[in-house]
Amino acid sequence: MAKVHVTTSINGEPMEFLCEPSDTMLDALRGPLALTGSKEGCASGDCGACSITVDDRLVCSCLMLAVESEGHEIRTIEGLAQGEKLHPLQQKFLEMAALQCGICTSGMLVASDALLKKNPDPSEEEVRFWLAGNLCRCTGYDKIVRAVMETAAEMRAQ
């Protein structure tokens, strides 16, 4: 089958790639685009390890076709830091030990960033429900929730 040519923007950069019509966005990111920060934990939209944003909307990239990215703005974990400067969430995750094995971390950070963009002052319950689509088997979520809340507080203070 002939491959499809897709033109899109990833982390603010114009990008072109070729993919099978049936490839998921996650396949494209991890394959031709060599952005392996998004992880595959389930391929069925249940773990959130592959979270990205599409035009600022939080999406499981395993549930989206790669061809659907045509003309849209994709953001992945690789685009969260600004050059050498970490995003405050990344910094806080490090300081507060909000990761253990780290396989869920990319997805957690992308999802948390999307939350704080939408709601800079979430309650603990709001954080918990927003992140309910991101499985973490290591941390018990405690430190992740705390890190998100604390980042939100610091970002509001700035």
Partner: protein
């Protein structure tokens, strides 16, 4: 070995050395690795729970364009049953060679029967469908009761128990005193039977590997595992390639919890790579992980405990039947050996039975077996305490094991911290707080304790000083949960330098000495020992170098704050020589500075924990939610408190899942019916409360920093604590896990009596 005091880094919440890569998406997990010329491997799996394999015809698959190699059990080294056990650690290669690929029988749905490598994953999957397997379908048994019936289908005809072919493939017992005499002395005796369902470790990263075999046989493996040396050894055994030709490189590991202590894909990918001459990548789907990798056992346990009116336990009898899955090896040692261990019981018999059935072979899961045993024991203890009208924690205190108590599994305890955990739980703000108003929902509180052996074992480290005076530490244990941070803290502390000057690397099998698995809560215990001794050797070298420069005796030089100093003015007046200065002078002063140590580490003390759990039950929906949780544990010494707490919180979350929701569900055809995250319901963020931790620190005197293993204890008491809390809320006790909504509803439909608060 001196205990480090006045710590600058030990006990600090430093930023882990590998953290930056993990928060930016740079970290390389096994499935993130690629290689020029790489092709893809896929496994064909048995659809049947039990079937004789009459023949396999791979010819059609081999002809499919793009297919580069096909392997079947013929390609894997056989370890014949009759020749006896070939042990590698706790694994018998006779079972491993049959587990990675079915030999004459398929023993569970998902059992590999062939593997294919092709230029794309899709072609490999297509080729699997073209392989023709002639099966003779056999009757099967999945549940323990079915496997133990007198007419049960026998998985391994060679196995005999009591002289007859049987699915019981192992038994162990621990004994102390005389239980018959003991029970005679008891005023109250309670005996109950409990069942638990198999649950999966649930690591988010599926098994994956990339393997290259050069024409001369030199093999490179990148894979996610809890031990690169285990990967090397098992792959060597099963493929016939010598260990010296295999370089196993540990990728970052996305969770393991014991489930990545054996190999599934590596031997198959190695054989495919060898046959095809191309590097082969294999990644399991989530469904494959659920169907064909190790969950832990389902179980059936009977526990009988007798106590006198004054609250002394005088006798206990535990019988634990655990499902092994298709091959022997369920964690009966953990169930029978840990569950009664927190208590000083004069008369005791604890028996474990290893039962095979047509499910995937179990793998270790966090304190393997211990949570299953503790669930039964800690529930009965609560019933006994209630019958005696005693506070459950007071009852535990009264019977607590302490220094000098002889444990059921043999050892006499040294100074242990069990009592301190119960006291801390009792004194916690949580235990004193009122349960509060549930607004129509029923609330209850439960407690439970747990024990895990902890382990030492083989560990190697190499510490090198760089030319610019910084430090590179290489150890041999994959870092699952932040062990690099602990090692950096320790090395920086000993050298008296900033921890950011210490880089910690996980070496591959060909660059660092043998190191056993990341498992048994042993990694920081063992690696801290070898890193400490290596660093001490380096400090000795640095003192000698400074002594030479100053032309004084090395004994007259001390190492402090990252520099050599004269011990006293009598030794001479010299400006301190820093690590950087000594590193710069190294070429002229004896050459490179480095030291390595390899040890079989001993002296790992067991770990104890006591938990307090509050639940709230929605009586209309049958949903039990944990609304508050406190985990107390004797952690020896918290080298990095953030990651110690993380271990406690993660273990508790897994236990809550096991208690309330997680289970393998089977179809009538004997297949797993919920092989995905949607239906196999692990706790998500909104299911859980914050999890409070109280770290009791009773340093291990046999460890330079006082370390005790911490990773496994936190899962041990959880199911019992939740069950005891639910009993407290409902006045009804569950004797089966999980306590999922349909089961809670069923229970609620019976006559209700709420326990007094």
């Amino acid at each position: 070995m001196n205990l480090v005091t006045n710590n600058k880094w030990i006990g600090q919440r430093t930023i882990r050395p590998d953290g930056m890569d993990k928060v930016t998406g740079r970290a390389q997990f096994a499935a993130d690795t690629t290689m020029p010329g790489q092709i893809w491997g896929k496994v064909l799996r048995s659809p049947h729970p039990h079937a004789r394999i009459r023949s396999i015809d791979t010819s059609k698959a081999e002809k499919l364009p793009g297919v580069k190699a096909v392997v079947t059990s013929k390609d894997i080294v056989d370890f014949p049953i009759e020749k006896g056990a070939v042990m590698l650690g706790i694994q018998d290669m006779r079972w491993m060679c049959r587990n990675v690929m079915a030999r004459d029988k398929a023993l569970f749905p998902g059992h590999p029967v062939a593997a294919v490598a092709a230029t794309t994953e899709a072609i490999a999957a297509e080729a699997c469908k073209l392989i023709e397997v002639d099966y003779e379908v056999l009757p099967w048994a999945i549940e323990i009761d079915d496997a133990l019936k007198s007419d049960a289908p026998i998985l391994h005809e060679f196995n005999k128990f009591d002289g007859k072919p049987s699915n019981i493939v192992g038994r162990l017992e621990h004994k102390k005193g005389d239980i018959e005499q003991g029970f005679k002395k008891a005023d109250i005796v309670i005996e109950r039977t409990f069942t638990t369902r198999p649950v999966h470790q649930g690591y988010i990263e599926p098994h994956a590997c990339l393997i290259s075999v050069a024409p001369d046989g030199k093999t490179t493996i990148w894979s996610s595992s809890q031990g690169q040396f285990m990967v090397r050894a098992m792959t060597a055994y099963l493929t016939g390639i010598p260990q010296s030709d295999i370089r196993a490189i540990p990728a970052e590991i996305g969770g393991g919890f014991g489930g990545k202590t054996i190999v599934y894909l590596e031997p198959l990918a190695t054989l495919l790579a060898k046959k095809s001459g191309r590097p082969v990548k294999m990644v399991m789907t989530r469904e494959e992980v659920m169907r064909a990798t190790g969950p832990t056992s389902g179980s059936k346990s009977t526990v009988k405990i007798g106590a006198t009116k004054d609250g002394r336990i005088v006798a206990a009898h535990g019988t634990f039947y655990l499902q092994a899955g298709a091959f022997p090896g369920s964690p009966i040692r953990g169930a029978a050996g840990c569950s009664l261990t927190p208590y000083d019981i004069p008369n005791l018999l604890s028996e474990g039975y290893d039962v095979c059935s047509n499910r995937s072979k179990v793998a270790a899961y966090r304190a393997p077996g211990a949570p299953i045993g503790a669930y039964a024991v800690e529930c009965v203890l609560d019933e006994v305490a209630e019958a005696l009208k005693m506070d459950p924690l007071d009852f535990r205190l009264k019977n607590a094991a302490k220094e000098g108590t002889k444990a059921a599994h043999g050892p006499v305890f040294p100074r242990i911290g069990y009592i301190e955990t119960v006291e801390a739980a009792k004194a916690s703000p949580h235990y004193a707080a009122p349960l509060g108003d549930g607004h129509g929902k029923l609330r209850g509180r439960g407690t439970a304790s747990g024990f895990w052996f902890n382990a030492g074992g083989e560990s190697s480290a190499q510490v090198n000083i760089t030319e610019d005076g910084n430090v590179v530490v290489t150890t041999g244990h994959p870092d699952i949960g932040g062990s690099r941070a602990g090692i950096a803290n320790i090395c920086a502390e000993l050298l008296g330098i900033d921890y950011r000057r210490v880089s910690v690397i996980i070496g591959d099998t060909q660059t660092v000495g043998f190191s056993n698995l990341t498992g048994g809560s042993r990694v920081l215990f063992a690696s801290a020992m070898v890193v400490t001794q290596s660093t001490e050797k380096i400090i000795q070298t640095l003192r000698e170098r400074a002594a030479k420069i100053w032309e004084i005796d090395p004994e007259a030089v001390k190492w402090e704050n990252g520099a050599a100093h004269p011990v006293s003015p009598n030794a001479g007046q010299f400006e301190p020589l820093t690590l950087e200065e000594l590193a710069e002078k190294a070429p002229a002063m004896g050459g490179p500075i480095g030291a390595g140590v390899q040890l079989n580490t001993q002296g790992a003390d067991g770990g104890f924990g006591t938990h307090v759990c509050d639940v709230e039950i929605d009586v209309d929906l049958g949903i039990a939610r944990v609304i508050r949780y406190t985990a107390v544990q004797d952690v020896g010494r918290a080298i990095h408190p953030g990651y110690v707490e993380g271990q406690l919180q993660g273990g508790v979350a897994q236990g809550i899942g096991w208690a309330l929701n997680e289970e393998y569900i089977y179809t009538k055809e004997g297949k797993v019916d919920n092989p995905g995250f949607l239906d196999y319901r692990m706790p998500v963020c909104s299911d859980l409360p914050m999890i409070d931790c109280i770290m009791v620190e009773i340093p291990n005197p046999k460890h330079p920093q006082g370390v005790k293993g911490v990773g496994e204890v936190p899962l041990v008491p959880v199911m019992a604590a939740v069950a005891n809390a639910i009993y407290n809320a409902l006045g009804k006790r569950f004797y089966a896990l999980p306590m999922s909504p349909p089961k809670v509803l069923e229970k609620l439909e019976g006559p209700m009596q709420q326990a007094a608060e």
